[in-house]
Each structure stands twice: as C-alpha cells, then as structure tokens.
Point group: C4
Chain length 208, copies 4
Amino acid sequence: MTVYNRIAAQDLGRIAALSDGIFAFAMTVLVLEIHIPDKLDIHLEAELWAGLAALAPRIVTWLLSLMTLGIFWVGQQTHLNHLSHADRDLSWLHFLFLACVTALPFSTRLLAEFITYKTAFLIYWFNIVLCGVSVMAGVIYADRAGLIKPDAPEHFSRAFRRRVIVAQALYALGAALGFISIPLGIGFIVLVQLNYVIAPRVPILFKL
Amino acid sequence: MTVYNRIAAQDLGRIAALSDGIFAFAMTVLVLEIHIPDKLDIHLEAELWAGLAALAPRIVTWLLSLMTLGIFWVGQQTHLNHLSHADRDLSWLHFLFLACVTALPFSTRLLAEFITYKTAFLIYWFNIVLCGVSVMAGVIYADRAGLIKPDAPEHFSRAFRRRVIVAQALYALGAALGFISIPLGIGFIVLVQLNYVIAPRVPILFKL
Amino acid sequence: MTVYNRIAAQDLGRIAALSDGIFAFAMTVLVLEIHIPDKLDIHLEAELWAGLAALAPRIVTWLLSLMTLGIFWVGQQTHLNHLSHADRDLSWLHFLFLACVTALPFSTRLLAEFITYKTAFLIYWFNIVLCGVSVMAGVIYADRAGLIKPDAPEHFSRAFRRRVIVAQALYALGAALGFISIPLGIGFIVLVQLNYVIAPRVPILFKL
Amino acid sequence: MTVYNRIAAQDLGRIAALSDGIFAFAMTVLVLEIHIPDKLDIHLEAELWAGLAALAPRIVTWLLSLMTLGIFWVGQQTHLNHLSHADRDLSWLHFLFLACVTALPFSTRLLAEFITYKTAFLIYWFNIVLCGVSVMAGVIYADRAGLIKPDAPEHFSRAFRRRVIVAQALYALGAALGFISIPLGIGFIVLVQLNYVIAPRVPILFKL
C-alpha cells in the first residue's frame, strides 16, 4: 500500500518558491514599519529633516534585519542548490525555518520600539538562533537522508555547518555583550553581519 | 473552431507559483496579527515580559494556523507533483482551494479574539473543512480527467484521499469535542496536526 | 551598436512570476479588508453571529473580486502559455495589465464601503474594463509581433479575443443595468462571472 | 577545504524569484497607500466624486512610482537574462538593489504627503539614484567576474551601462529642476519615464 508520507513533497522548487515569497514579504514588511512623520507636526523643510532624523532607531533595526534576511536567504539557497531532491521531512524543516523568518519583522518591531530593553534584544537574538538552528537541522537531515547531489563539492555539508556554528557563536557573543550594554551588543552583531555581507578578501575573515 | 475553455490554463507551474505566493503571504500575515505591547504601558523589563506573556492566545492560534498551512502546503504540492498537466477545471479547483487558504488569517484572527466563543471555533474548523474539501475535489477531478502522471506510484490517488478523509474525520472529532469544551477541542486538533507535522515512525500514527 | 530596447525583457517566466505574485497578494489583501467585529460590542454567541452577518456586503464584494481575479488569472496564463518568447513591449503591456489588477482591491473597498453609490459601481466596472483592455492589447500585440508559438492551436488568438469581447460586452450590459438598480447590475455581473468560473457544459454558455 | 563563500548562491532563478516577489509587493503596497474617502464625509454622488478627485496627488505619485518600478523590473531582468550563472557577490548586489526597491513605497508616501517640500522630492530622487547605482554595480561586477553568457549580444554590457548613465543623468536634471520648482522637476521625471515606458520609435528617443 502507498503510504502518503512516503510520497509527500519531493519538489525542491516548491521550497525555493515559498522561501522567495517569504523573504520578499519580510523585506517589504520591514520598510512598512517605518512610518513617515505626521503632517500636522511639520511646517518647514528643517522640521521635515528633523522628523526623518528621528526615525534613526527604526532605520538601524531595519538595516540589521535586512542583513539578517540576506544572510539567511543566501545560506538557505546555497544549501538547496546542492540537494538532488526533497522529501516531506526536509520540506517540514524548511517550513519551520521559514516560520522563524516570518517572525523576524515582529522581533524587529519589538527591538525598534523597546531598544533600551534587554528583553527585546534577547528576543531578537533568540529569533536569529531559531533561524540558525532550523537551517542547520535541514542541513544535517539532508546529509543523513542522502539528499545531497553526487556532484556537490566535497565536504559541502561540513563547510556549511562550520559556517552556521561560527556565526551563531559570534551572535551569542553579541548577545552576551548586550548584557553589558545593548548598543555594544547590537554594534557587535552589525559588524559580524557586515563581514558576512561583504565577505572581505582577508583570509581570516573570508573563512569565518 | 477553437473554444477558449478547451485551451485555458494548462500549466501546472502557474498553479504552484500562485500557491507559494498565497502560502507565503498567509504565513506572514499571521505574524502581523501579533501586535507588540503598547510602549506607554511599559516602564520595566518585567512589564515587557508580562506584556509579551499576554500575547499567549495569539501565539497559540498562530502556531495552530501555521501547522494548518504547512499541512495543506505539503498536501497540495504532493498532489501537484504527481500530475502531468493541468486544465481549466483543475486550475479553478486549486484557485478555490487557495481562496479558502487566504481566508485562514481571517478565521485565525476571529479565533484569537473570541477564543471563548463556540462560533469562532466552529468557523475556524469550517475553514479547515473547506480547505480539505477543495483539495479533495482537485484530487478526484485529476483522477477522472486523466491528469495523473503515468509513472505516479500505484494507488497514489487512493492514498491521498484516504489521508484527507482520516484527517477531516479527526478534525470533525475535534470540533465535536469543542462543544464540550473549546480548549479541549483546540488541544485535540493541535495534537492531530502535530502528528501530521512530525509524522512519528510509529506504524499506526505514520499511516494515519 | 546594441540598442538596449531591442534586447530588453525577453523572458516569459518573469512575466508569469510577477503575475503570480500580484494575484496572490491581491487575493490576500481582499480578505484583509474584511475586519472582524469589535470585541467590545460582543458579549454573547448570538451577538457574534450578528456581527459576522453584518459583514455580508464585504463578503459579497470579496467573492465578486475573487471571481474577477480568477477569470483574469486563467485568461492571462492561457495567453502566455501559447507564446514562444517575450519582448519589452509585451512585458510593458503585461506590467500595465498587472497595475490594473493591483487597483482591484482599491475598487473593491470603494464598492463595499459605498455599495449604494453609482460612482463606486462604475469605478469598479471601469477597473474590469481596464483589465480586459490591457490583456487584449497584449494578445493583439503578440499576434502582430509574431510571438505566438508555431504549435499553438489554430485560431488561438481569435478564440481569445472573441472571449474578451463577449465578456466585456456582458460586463458593459451589467454596468448599464446598474443605472437602473445597483443590486441588479452587481447581480448580473456575478452571474456572468459564475458562468466563466463554472463553464457549464451547456453549449451556448460554454462557448461564451 | 571547501570555503562556504566560494560555493554560496549560484542560482540566478532565486534572484529572479525574489525580485518578482519584491516588485509584486511594491506594486501592491503603492495602491494600499491610496485610502478611500471617509464614509462619514460622503452623502451624495457628487461628494464621492469630489472625495476621489482629492486623491489626485496620491494617484500622480502612484503612477510615477509604478513607472519607476516597471523600468527597473525590465532593466534588471534584461541584465539577468544575459548571465550564465550567479555567485554570492552578485546575489548580494541584487539583494541590495531589491532593498532599494522595497524603500520606494516609503519614498512615495513621503512625496505624496509632503509634495511641496524639496526634502521629500530629493529623498524620492535619491531612492531612484540608489536603485540605479546598485543595478549598475551588478552589471559591472557580472562583466568583471565573467558571469555573462557567451552568446549574449556583443556590447550587451556597454549598452546596458549607457542606458543607466543616460537615465540617471536625466533624473539628476529633473532633481536640479526641482530646486527651481517641484512640479517642474516631477513633470520632467514623468516625461523621462514615459519615454522609457513607451520607447517611441523616434531614433533619438528610442536610443536614449
């Protein structure tokens, strides 16, 4: 007898398409959270400049979350590109990962609104941890279930896992620094992310 | 003469792409419904924790609907993966199914806001029934119209229909339990869904 | 010298993907417009039922626009499926068509809020006309520019144009009936659309 | 040892799919910003017409941003269509470009609300500059990194860059005109964009 669970969700393209929808929506929602100044408060060009300058905390958290999204978008697609096919467990692990991604605009709003609160910063960090753990679970599962393409680069899975572990260790350090000072913690995480975005051709940084 | 209806909508990829867009937005909208605490009410870390703890009903209904979306996303793609092509009737049946999916954030909001009302719980359950009925209609139609791939696993269609019927029977039992106690009904549906998400390797459960 | 305009936008897949995003978002936004009853007004199950029943005009306009979206989604993909490639003019005509589709949630909201006003009904109808004219422009252009697949069914383009013209004539009749009575006009358009959705196997209707 | 950065993000399809999601949401969000008149202010058909006429500044900025989106959507896909594959740097440059695109609804809202303020107009113009610079960076990078298809039209990259430079020079002229008069600046940019949308078969304009 054919059991439903054995034949479910074998299409990598559907995971990719759902992911692109989720990331596109998350990027858009992040900007929707930045409200323009109230017209009633503005009568001069200088007041409009001042009103826009007051958006700074929103813009910092927007850029922070934008980098987070970009890093995970690049990471997840690198993982998917090296798989030959999917199965239901892999689909569910990615669904879980995407659910963590959809929570990021919530955590970002919380951080922007309560930027002086450790609680908000820890929840934001925890969201990044959840994204990392769920993407890692997908990588480990794909390895065990034999879903990796035969022609994938040698040690592909190890390189990927090493990357996630190093990144999460650095984020955890950022979270620890946040207990001393929240701006210090956020600043450290921004620097870590900038390194992943720019991938400077400095050997020690490029290999992080 | 070429009749429009005979040549309309033969592309499975378009159904898949529309579906991924719908599921991506539905997942994102579910999180947008969870509002962060009001800044004016919060002056201490403990108050922020309390404010977040008060979001519990929203978070429970979010997780419930997230699982519902995931189960139908996996289900629908399993169905589509085994078809060779589409036609206009199949496209419309999936369009109908997706319209039911877009209604889920509405039902979820209603359930979160009126969690002690049987009416809200029944409407939520009815939304799941509509999703199940419309996906089932697509499966039955595809079978009759000869749209299933020749190399699909034997009894594919039967395995799929069996799955939908068992699931809907369990949801109906959950709805009936909701007449005794709403938390009991919701709890039962959560357990049923967790079983479908995790697909434990316990023969009796795996085959449900 | 290579002129940019000669090499721009030759990919049908990008038009299809943008379209599916637009339709998915429009379908989702239509539901977001249906607000749940205010919790402060509701104390009994019966009051919740009454509050939901009061949503009837919203639900009618939702179903109306859902059918409109479905009809144009099926229509546009039927058109695209029979093309061999795109060019910049075709891409812009579809972009224009999609811009008309994004306006539909606006027209729907206007109609739902001002359902007794001829102005709102005429703007809604005009939105359908714009969708029809722009999709028709794409069909005519593709025909002239030689973008149709060699193996497309004979008279494909003629069948498509005939469909659009008949549909628009019926919608115009609905608009005219709206001058006598708005519910009559809406009712007539709903019937026309139901015919296109269901495509009953009655020869005279199937061929409309 | 396999270094993560060398194997990351080689799939053009993912860039395309993320882009289509972003453009689809941006187009939809632009319309969501146009609010229908308040029901309490409207008692007659004539009042509804007047209420809709008062939306004119919103509709002008909507059309302006719609053309901006269309021009960049066509431009970016023309670029991507001529590449053989992606790498992590190209993916990040496109991610950056898309982040600029997600900011456009914000700039549009700002311009619509503060249409008499130079600050708002300059920020809107600066957003177009950022879109142009980031898409240009992708084109230059792809050229240097050898990502262009062997069969791409000769001088493809040069034709593309020329197009971006001419367009940005015209937009800069529009911004300069805005210092004399904001309506003049907006009007000039609208004309430039209309030329790119329609691509009239007038040699001097077609080659701009």
